[in-house]
Every structure is written in C-alpha cells, then in structure tokens.
C-alpha cells in the first residue's frame, strides 16, 4: 500500500464532498435531472405505443376472396384495420381524416389467388408521415412486423410490402417512409445535440471570460476607468455574441449540408418537393431558425454573465453555470423523442417556458411551415433575454459586481466583505 494514500484519499473525499458546488452540480443535479428525463421518456414511449396500437389503417380491398379477409383480421391483432368501400387509394385518402387514420393498405385483386398458389403478391402500404419525433416510426414498424409475421405463417416473401408515404395529404409514390424517417431522425437528433453543445460551450466561455476578469482583478481596473459601466457588459456580451454568431452560422451551414446528405438518399424519380411537403425547412424557415438560435444563445450568454458575477473565480463560475445545464439537457433530449403536441398540458407549458427549448421547437415548427410558432418563440426568448440583460446591467452599475456572491448555506444571496 502506498504510504499516505489513505490519509490523502480521506482528505480528498472530505474536500470534494463538502464543496457545495460539487455536491449540487455532480450529485444532486443528476439525481433530479435523470429521473425527470426518465419520466418524460417513459411518458413519450407510452404515448407513442398507445397511439400506434390505436392506429387506424384504412383497407382498400380489391380482392373479394377469403384470404384477404383473413389478412385483414391478422392485421387487426395489432392495429385497427378498417375496410372501407372505395375503389381507389385517392378516394381512401379523402376519407382518412374521417377515420383519424394513419395509413392505407391496398390489397390487390389477385391477393387470395397468389397466397393460395404461394406466388409473391405486392401489397401497397401508404403511411402518414408528420415528422414530429423519433418515435413516430413506431406505427409503420408495427405494420412491417405484421407482414413479416404473416409471411412466416405462410411461406417466405409471399407478401411483398410496397411502401409509399403520405405527407400533408399527398402521396409520394415509391418513397419508403423509413428513408424519410431517417431524415427526420437526423433532424430530431442533430439540432438538439448541436444546441446542447453550442449552448453549454458558449455559456462556459462567457462565464470564464467574466470570472477571469474578476480573478485577475482586471474588472476592478476597468470599473475605475472613465467609461460607461454598461459598456463593459455590452463589450463582453458583444464579444461572446460575435463568437456565438459565428458558431450559429457555422451550425446553419453544417446542418444544411448534413440535411442534404440525407435528402440525397431520396430517389430523384420521386421528384418530391421536400420543402412543400414539410420535411425540410424553407429558406425563410432556415432564417427564422437561425434567429431563434441566435437569441437563445444571447439569453444563455447573458445568464452566464450574471451567474459568473456571483463567482469569485473561474472554477466557481463554471460550477454555477453548470446548474443551468439541466434546463438545456432535459428539453434537448426529451424533444428528440417527443411530439410535444401529445404531451399533457402542464408538461407542454414547462417545455415552452424553458427558453433553451425554443430553437428545437422552432426547428420542428419551421419544418412544418408553422412560422407563427417559431416567431412567437423568438419573441418570448427575446423578452427573457432583455430581462436578464437588464438585471446584468443593474449588477454592473453597482458595487455588487464586486461584492455579491452566492452563499450555499440556506442558498441565500449575501454580501460579504470582498477584501480586507
């Protein structure tokens, strides 16, 4: 055993565990954050599964024999397959809203004959695609599974599913919903992850910048110079904004290219206008998304500046800023999976109230062509930012910028002697 190791270990543990910043940031926050995340995930999984099991599939049956009826009954084990008396898929499309259907199955005239003769027969599936979240593909997956199970009972590859997609009431022939699904998944994951990285990284930069000024006492020097004190705050924020703005621009270019790599997988023969179908944002949508991202970054930076004013050094500032991270992590990760529209009202309110979730929601909104929601989100975050910046300017205008610090005992904000 290393001599002195035990003594050092005990000292280290005491030092670390007794530091309230570490206790709160590394132990208490994860203990709260992950159960909250788990609850949200559980809720979203349940919602997706329930809606999938209740999914109505309209059946356009051109076959009048027994086997097609049996196939419909088989589908009914997992979904609500509802035969309707129409002669074409286009007519069925018009009926979808009446039945709240999420898809159409078209059974060809030779279905029963082919099944009896064990000759492969193509069954067309048309699946509605709204692009709301990672779990949206559950219903189409269930249908695919049902076809596989049906084939297993008969013979391999008797039923050949031909997948097409319905987007905003229009059929895109020959496009497998899974291709679009991968597009949406890429969108659903890429933006929250990028947000998460951009926000946390830029907040750390801004907090470090202010804390460095305090730690090196350069802030004290600046405060005694003949200049407007708001200029110090404005200069600091502007510097961070420029860096964050460059980050946002780099993100927009990168994200656009990334999206292009997915959309290129869609067959050109399908000639689908992905923008009008609401699968990728329009140019205006990208612009709104950029603005949303920018104001959110600004609000995060202003918040980081305020929090770091309560810290005496860089380490404390970084710890303080990390308390905001759950408000970035939870909506980012939750909105990867969730369709916000199916959530309980209170959870919707919570998610909408967190400013850092706005760009993710704006991304979904602009993709769906809902510019009003994205615009309102921008207004909300801008108002939040103004409040935070006003508070920051008040802090910089007084001696509190030097004297205030957060006391963890009872979590009271206290003024203490800053020097001898």
């Amino acid at each position: 055993m290393l001599k002195g190791f035990g003594t050092l270990l005990v000292k280290e543990l005491k030092e670390l565990i007794r530091d309230p910043k570490i206790l709160l940031g590394f132990i208490v926050v994860p203990l709260i954050m992950f159960p909250v995340l788990g609850y949200v995930m559980n809720l979203s999984m349940q919602t997706a599964q329930e809606s999938a099991s209740k999914a109505v599939l309209l059946v356009v049956n051109h076959d009048s024999e027994n086997n097609s009826t049996q196939f419909i009954a088989f589908l009914n084990l997992a979904v609500n397959a509802t035969p309707i008396t129409v002669s074409t898929v286009d007519e069925a499309l018009l009926q979808m809203s009446n039945y709240s259907a999420s898809g159409i199955v078209e059974i060809p005239t030779n279905f029963s004959q082919s099944v009896i003769a064990r000759i492969p027969v193509t069954v067309k599936f048309y699946t509605v695609f709204s692009g709301s979240g990672l779990l949206e593909g559950i219903s189409s997956s269930i249908v695919n599974q049902m076809v596989e199970n049906y084939n297993r009972n008969l013979a391999p590859n008797i039923l050949v599913p031909a997948q097409s997609t319905i987007v905003k009431g229009k059929i895109i022939e020959g496009i497998d919903p899974r291709v679009l699904s991968s597009l949406v998944i890429s969108q659903a994951i890429a933006l929250p992850i990028t947000m998460l990285i951009l926000l946390t990284y830029s907040m750390q930069i801004a907090a470090t910048s202010v804390a460095m000024e305090k730690e090196e006492k350069t802030l004290e020097t600046l405060l005694t110079l003949p200049m407007d004190r708001f200029a110090i705050l404005a200069g600091k924020l502007s510097g961070s904004i420029i860096v964050a703005g460059i980050g946002a621009l780099a993100y927009m270019f990168g994200f656009n290219y990334y999206m292009g790599s997915f959309t290129s997988a869609i067959p050109t023969g399908a000639s689908a206008d992905l923008v009008s179908l609401g699968l990728v944002p329009s140019l205006f949508g990208y612009l709104l998304l950029g603005v949303s991202l920018f104001v959110t970054l600004l609000s995060a930076l202003a918040l980081a500046v305020i929090l770091s004013a309560f810290a005496q050094d860089v380490r404390s500032a970084q710890s303080l800023v990390s308390y905001v991270f759950p408000f970035v992590f939870v909506p980012s990760i939750a909105l990867m999976y969730l369709d916000i529209n199916v959530l309980p009202f209170w959870l919707k309110v919570v998610l909408y109230a967190i400013p850092f979730s706005q760009p993710i929601m704006a991304s979904k909104a602009v993709t769906a062509g809902d510019y009003v929601t994205a615009g309102l989100g921008i207004v909300y975050v801008a108002a939040f930012t103004l409040v935070i910046m006003y508070a920051a300017s008040r802090l910089f205008a007084t001696e509190k910028i030097l004297t205030v610090k957060l006391r963890f005992k009872g979590l009271r904000k206290r003024q203490t002697t800053p020097s001898e």
């Binding site: 005694t224 110079l225 030097l402 004297t403 203490t416 800053p418 001898e420």
Partner: protein
C-alpha cells in the same frame, strides 16, 4: 490648496462586518501617503472607496474636492487604481495591454502612442513587451501594471500593495518608479502595504490602520519618536498593545 484625498467619518459595513469604522484622514497634493496595517485592517476597502469601486455606508470622501459618490465619473478621470495582486490580460502582449488601457484615458492616437512609450520606459520590460503577458514572471507583471497606473500621469494614483509578493530587486524597481513619478510629475500617491519597513522608506506620511480605524498618523520619524521605537513595526505593536 484642496486636499487630494479627504475622508471624513467613513464607515463601511459588509453584512455584519464593520470593515471601516469612522475613518478620517487627508492626503495633501503631491504627497506619497501610506496606509499600513495587518491583513483585514481595512486598507483595501479604504482604497476601493477612494477609487469609486465601493460606496461608503456613511461618511464623506472627496478627491480633489469631488465627491466619490455624486461625482464618481469625474473622479475616475483623474485617478488611476492598481488593485492588489491584479494581472494583465494573459493573451494580450504587454504592449497591447498598455495600448488598450491608454485608449480609455488618452485622446488621439499620437497621445496614446506617447503614453504607451512612457509606460514602456517606466516598466523597463524592453522587447518582452511584445510577448504575451502570460509568459511574464510575477515581478514583470507587477512592473507592467504599475507602469499602466502611472503612464497617464493621473492626479491621484491609488496603489494597493504595489510590491506584494515581489522579490527584493523587483520591489526596489517598483518603489523607485513610484518615487520618481511622484517627484517628477507631481502625482499624488496613496498606497497600502502590510510591509511597514517598506512604507517607512517610501512614504512621506503614514496612517496605521487596525480593525477599520486609524490608530496613529503622521511622518514616520515623528511616530517613531513619539512612541520611542526604532521602526514602524514597533510603533504599530505598541499602539495596538502587543508591546
């Protein structure tokens, strides 16, 4: 002539700590005045109030007849403050740092250039001014910052522990700079130190501070004679009842 610094009955309270407890002193124009005392005596708080960083809880502070509370912006135009253990911006070169600071107090590019050259001469860092400040030793950083505080020839320079943590040679260099500037340019200097021997050699007048109060004030020689001591340390020990 108006006093450079006039503090009257200044009290500063932080929560339940009374950092300054009725502080009274004046500093004459062109004088080097030393505030000395142990850690926690209230030296830094007093200097921060003079420098408009903190507001007194009660009492008045006037700098060349300007009120630090009501005329803070005017006071900032004529003072220069050097915080204790302050550093320059680590990723700026010494030259860039001086240039940055000069822009706030000096008008015009030519004047700023002259000011920076003046500072370069004061600090004596030569070619090293082109290097990033993070590569400087503690002594070099302090020389740079003292030069920054004096380069604009402020009417009042407030220096908090200007030689704290420096070795003998760097301390000597900094002290010489301060003395020369006060003599040649008529800059009034208020400085703090817990090194009483150093202050004895540098300051024309000193105030001994203990627990937020001045316990003795005057010329070093007068204080030593009054308390029958050989140096200010002994004076301080006798005043606070240690000896």
């Amino acid at each position: 002539m108006n006093a450079a610094v006039d503090m009257k009955s200044v009290v500063k309270v932080f929560g339940n700590i009374r950092a300054l407890d009725g502080l009274n002193f004046t500093v004459d124009t062109g004088e080097i005045f030393g505030l000395i005392g142990p850690n926690g005596a209230g030296k830094t708080t007093a200097l921060r109030i003079i420098s408009t960083l903190l507001l007194p809880t009660s009492g008045t502070v006037r700098i060349f007849d300007l009120d630090v509370f009501r005329q803070a912006a005017e006071v900032r135009k004529i003072i220069s403050y050097l915080p204790e253990e302050a550093g320059p911006y680590p990723n700026l070169s010494g030259h860039e740092y001086l240039e940055f600071m000069a822009r706030f107090t000096v008008k015009g590019r030519d004047e700023a250039h002259k000011t920076v050259n003046e500072a370069a001469e004061i600090c004596g860092l030569g070619g090293r001014l082109k290097d990033k400040a993070k590569t400087y030793s503690k002594g070099m950083k302090r020389r740079l910052l003292v030069a920054r505080a004096l380069m604009t020839k402020p009417r009042l320079a407030v220096l908090d522990e200007p030689t704290s943590g420096l070795d003998v040679l760097h301390s000597y260099h900094v002290r010489e700079i301060i003395k020369r500037y006060a003599t040649e340019h008529g800059v009034t200097i208020v400085l703090s130190s817990h090194n009483m021997l150093e202050v004895e050699h540098l300051c024309q007048r000193v105030a001994l501070l203990n627990k937020g109060k001045i316990v003795a004030e005057g010329k070093s020689q007068e204080l030593k004679e009054k308390f029958g001591s050989t140096n200010l340390e002994e004076v301080f020990a006798k005043v606070v009842g240690f000896a």
